[in-house]
Symmetry: C2
Subunit: 668 residues, 2 copies
């Protein structure tokens, strides 16, 4: 057809351009904010990618996801399959850590369509002589693309066409309709109307510790003998203690020199005595800033030895990255342009009006601080990376600009893709999610304040089923130096056991701060602060005192490591226990045939009895079926007959139960 006008020619070009993507591909599970941010997965582990895929009309369509590394390199192509209601799914494994770019393709499979239609006509007893000829044409057309075909499938198609050409009616029909023919055409038939999703979807593949780790937090200065200031060597001497409990990340609050100006005394009083060590968060003094270690802890060489010793025992050291400075920090003289100054020439202290924090000052990130401060902060991180630290807990990231984190984390991870950043932000939901989107590997959470069954169920359902599961990985801390939770202040030992089990089995990453194992919960009255907090003074710990819960910790950490279902926190499912004080949930990993059930008594003060249903339906079993079960606390193995059961949990005995299901044919 001759195109008359310039306007029509432009329209024709637009039509041809748009026509390329005939098959609709949309709603990609891993596309965060229209492709603005990468999703997160673990290298080497299978994960499901989903998309809506459909065409016009009723033709058979097919779809695949392709994943590429940033600079050429590996290409992974996985065919997707239809799940339900135009939702398709592909099970992808990314072999290496780093950024991957996923494209989604779909096409019409003309031979499969022909096969389906012709089958229906055969079923209705219609004459299909012409259809058979059409089928032969489709095979011939597949051969026509022979430059793209490998020798083997080309040969197979040629032989097939010869056979069809030689066959009479019935034999011809049999050949054309055979599964073999369908299979070969499926494999090498043309991808008609090959369409591609308009955007690239980025996934950061990370190492397992990004999603699965058990943290133990301590302040080295309290780990010295007989009340003396602890050193890195003191910690080295007690690495076995932490390792024996089953932790794999050992995390220290800041280990840098501490300022003297306006130093805080015990229990956060405004004036410190001459011997008071001050808050480790008042970073920087005469002996240096963010690249220095506090001289009382040892030297950088001591620190290096500690990192190496931990690695030998299978542990990593995590450091705090806290950007604020003591008024004595060397940066203040070296880079006055990074700080805010007042009209009278004094430096502006940190404040949250009307509250003031006189022992710290904050940098600002713009004006003359951009980019010099940004580069320096990144270089601080790189400095510690070079000293073997690959995990950083970042203090209060929500009070620093999001673009800084996005840039800094990406820059560091480009050089060291195995670096992990944990965001210590206890703030509004969207702020926490944004921090995860801009790059934080893990996020502190509201877990510390979620105790009731409905609260836990609602919060975990959000974390494990909503879109945020693709980019935000919670790290459930049961306590921290800053949070002595109300619940634990009054719950006694049973509450510590309960919170341990919840933290360690509801999330992939979890942590405790030392003292938890001996149920330390004495508060500054009316506050969620520890009395005589290590933040302002040295403490001496006796972790062997009566009432410790180290056996629980060892057991739970062992269960976490031994059972694959514990590794992906999104496999959590809640089940019904007929008691509002009992949380009942499963971690169900069909790919690894690993199925655990958990009953936790949330009431630390009384025994709770309840009915529950074994989720036989998860395995396609009827209500009256039997299933083998292992009691992971006692180690014995027995059989549950039928769906309905009863149990009681006494917090004084054991406030929780953990079961492994062994469905028929299973048994990992």
């Amino acid at each position: 057809m001759a195109l008359k006008s310039k306007m029509t020619r432009k329209a024709a070009d637009a039509a041809v351009d748009l026509s390329r993507n005939r098959i609709v591909i949309e709603s990609i599970s891993h596309e965060i904010d229209g492709g603005r941010f990468p999703a997160k997965e673990i290298a080497g582990q299978i994960f499901a990618v989903e998309a809506d895929v459909f065409g016009d009309g009723h033709d058979c369509i097919r779809a695949a996801v392709q994943a590429r590394r940033e600079r050429g390199g590996s290409l992974v192509e996985v065919e997707m399959s239809h799940v339900i209601n135009d939702r398709w799914r592909g099970d992808v494994t990314l072999p290496e850590i780093g950024l991957w770019h996923m494209t989604f393709i779909a096409w019409r499979d003309l031979f499969a369509t022909w096969h389906e239609d012709t089958s229906k006509k055969i079923g209705a007893g219609q004459n299909i002589a012409l259809e058979l000829e059409e089928g032969r044409h489709l095979i011939a057309a597949a051969l026509d693309q022979s430059p793209l075909l490998k020798a083997r499938p080309k040969k197979a198609l040629e032989r097939l066409l010869d056979q069809i050409g030689a066959a009479e009616d019935e034999a011809k029909q049999k050949l054309l309709m055979s599964d073999d023919t369908l299979d070969i055409m499926r494999a090498v038939g043309p991808r008609s109307n090959l369409s591609q999703y308009e955007r690239t979807v980025t996934v950061r593949a990370e190492r397992p510790a990004a999603a699965f780790s058990a943290w133990y937090e301590l302040m080295p200065r309290s780990w010295g003998p007989n009340g003396q200031h602890g050193t890195f060597d003191d910690v080295i001497a007690r690495l076995d203690y932490v390792r024996d409990l089953g932790f794999d990340v050992l995390y220290f609050p800041p280990i840098h020199p501490i300022g003297k100006t306006n130093r805080k005394g015990p229990n956060n009083v405004l004036t410190a005595g001459p011997e008071d060590p001050g808050s480790p968060y008042a970073i920087g003094g005469q002996k240096g800033g963010h690249r220095a270690v506090h001289p009382d802890l040892g030297t950088l060489e001591d620190f290096d030895r500690l990192v190496a010793a931990a690695a030998e025992k299978g542990m990593e050291i995590a450091l705090d990255f806290a950007i604020q400075c003591s008024p004595d920090h060397p940066w203040i003289k070296e880079h006055p342009e990074w700080f805010d100054w007042r009209p009278d020439g004094t430096i502006k202290f940190a404040e949250n009006p009307p509250k003031k924090y006189e022992d710290i000052v904050n940098v600002h990130f713009y004006r003359d601080a951009l980019p010099s401060l940004w580069l320096e902060l990144r270089d601080v991180v790189l400095f510690w990376v070079e000293h073997g630290v690959k995990i950083f807990r970042v203090d209060n990231p929500h009070t620093k600009p999001f673009p800084f984190w996005e840039w800094m984390i990406a820059d560091v991870q480009t050089r060291h893709p195995d670096t992990i950043f944990l965001a210590e932000a206890f703030t509004r939901p969207k702020v926490m999610k944004r921090l995860a989107k801009v790059g934080f590997t893990q996020s502190y959470s509201y877990f510390t304040w979620r105790h009731a069954k409905t609260e836990l169920t609602e919060y975990l359902t959000e974390l494990t089923t909503e879109e945020c599961r693709h980019y935000m990985r919670p790290n459930f801390f049961a306590n921290t130096p800053d949070i002595n939770p109300w619940f634990l202040q009054t719950s006694g030992r049973p509450g510590f056991r309960t919170r341990l089990v919840l933290a360690a089995t509801l999330a992939g990453n979890y942590g405790i701060y030392n003292g938890f194992e001996v149920c330390e919960g004495r508060p500054v009255p009316g506050k969620e602060e520890y009395l005589d907090s290590e933040k302002y003074q040295l403490r001496q710990w006796d972790f062997d005192q009566p009432g410790h819960i180290k056996d629980d910790i060892r057991l739970i950490n062992r269960i976490r490591v031994e059972h694959p279902a514990m590794r992906d926190f999104t496999n959590l499912r809640f089940y019904n226990a007929t008691n509002d004080d009992v949380l009942y949930y499963g971690r169900m990993d069909a790919a690894n045939d690993s199925y655990l059930l958990f009953h936790v008594n949330l009431d630390p003060h009384g025994a709770q009895e309840f009915g529950f249903e074994v989720p036989l339906w998860e395995f396609g079993l009827p209500d009256e079926a039997s299933i083998e079960v292992e009691d992971l606390l006692q180690g014995n193995r027995f059989t549950w007959h039928g769906k309905s059961h009863r149990l009681a949990l006494d917090p004084q005995a054991r406030p929780y139960a953990i079961w492994r299901l062994i469905p028929p044919g299973g048994g990992r």
Copy 2:
């Protein structure tokens, strides 16, 4: 700071680049699929645009939405305000129809932050001498951007600074902390860290009929006198009938020549008699194709007169756009490359195996048909636009490629932005939504098959509250020539009244197909087809026969037009009626002070009594308050005392009630 390496220089550039958007703007309400498709709104009407906006730390931030026409022209800027939980909202009105591009900006308001912090310090009795000096600096800084300031605010700032300079402590504080100062700084203070959302969000502003219209469908050939083939002139003669019922769109199934080959007879039999008119969907014959009118209906000039006569009475003509062809369509000879041919040289009929449709053939849209067919189809639409038709009901769009619709509708609307396309797709949810996204103005819906209270509530909640509300506008047809709903086949007259009220008051667009007003529901036994359907034969209609529901239709259409609350279908809210057969809902339009309540008895066979609550809480009224109410059926006005009331609806009397609330101070 000197930058040492090339790598660091690159990193520094990246940091500066990212740093530009310090304030986070995300989750824009009107961004469809990451900006891939425009949202839809009505020009001249207020609508709420929402976004998540937040910064790091606790500074006061502000945000605005800006909207621009495609080629320069008008710019609308609306400041947004914080609603809850970091969600912000701006009330936007787009003055002209066409495509608008929205950008979102946000900034830190340093003076507002200073004002808030200083207020807190004053409240705590702190010395604020330095703070006052800092406040003065901020005002001076605002003046420093004076090239950007207009003369008047510049003068105001200068005077303010003079006054502050001359004032002593207390007067200075009063000046700096005054509302006037806050207001002027709010208006002209610098937009610190001005950030912009990375993508542009597109909104198509359309004319009111896109969202609010009442359709009446008829086949002109049945509107002749005494059983003769009707003509356009016959329809002209009866325009008053349709107008009097209150409809504003008069929609005809195809009016083109009908093919003779394999013509269908009455009730869809495979062979037609010599006098049988055939299906109007078998388009094209000796007398022409998609640009011709059936000679028995009249001439193109007759059609033009009909369009003009309808317009004079405030009605528009909507035409069917059905792409399939009769085997006699002229395109088949003129453009054999648009059709599928079989190995024996015959044309491929439409089929849905094992079903065959021998009276129609389908075009295909690719290979040699691209772009010539696409251009021709668009030109067919433009042809009818030039004949005054601006509304097209598109037959089965889901069996034609989505890219074709996206291109064609955009192309037509670029030339004629007032064109409206209704998608007649009864298919899977995602397919229907995609059609709406690629450009269809309105969409047929599942309403025809939603009868129960839970079904209606669930479906309408999806349509009016989920993301699709921004791009998919339902058109609720109570019946069509293709759908004689099961419900109406047995409901009798009460069911017709019920379905009328539901269709007309749950959606902005709705329609009926003629015969509905006389409760026609005789089926082909066991099918949702009308017996003796007009699709295959002429019918004679007597719309004055006993039992008609024309009074209901007139009343409901009048209520729709008179009450602003009926115009935006997303203002629907469901309330609780204590009876599963009674649907109770409101259309609540606070901007126009228009509040309607509806009670509908869904059971056509029995009276239903129920309790209900007047939603006093919507107006901030306590449970025991009184509210004025108008019965829109009887016209009387009275007072409801308190929240709880009872009512009974007898389907034989009137199966519905409609109330207008007049809250204290209201009264539109």
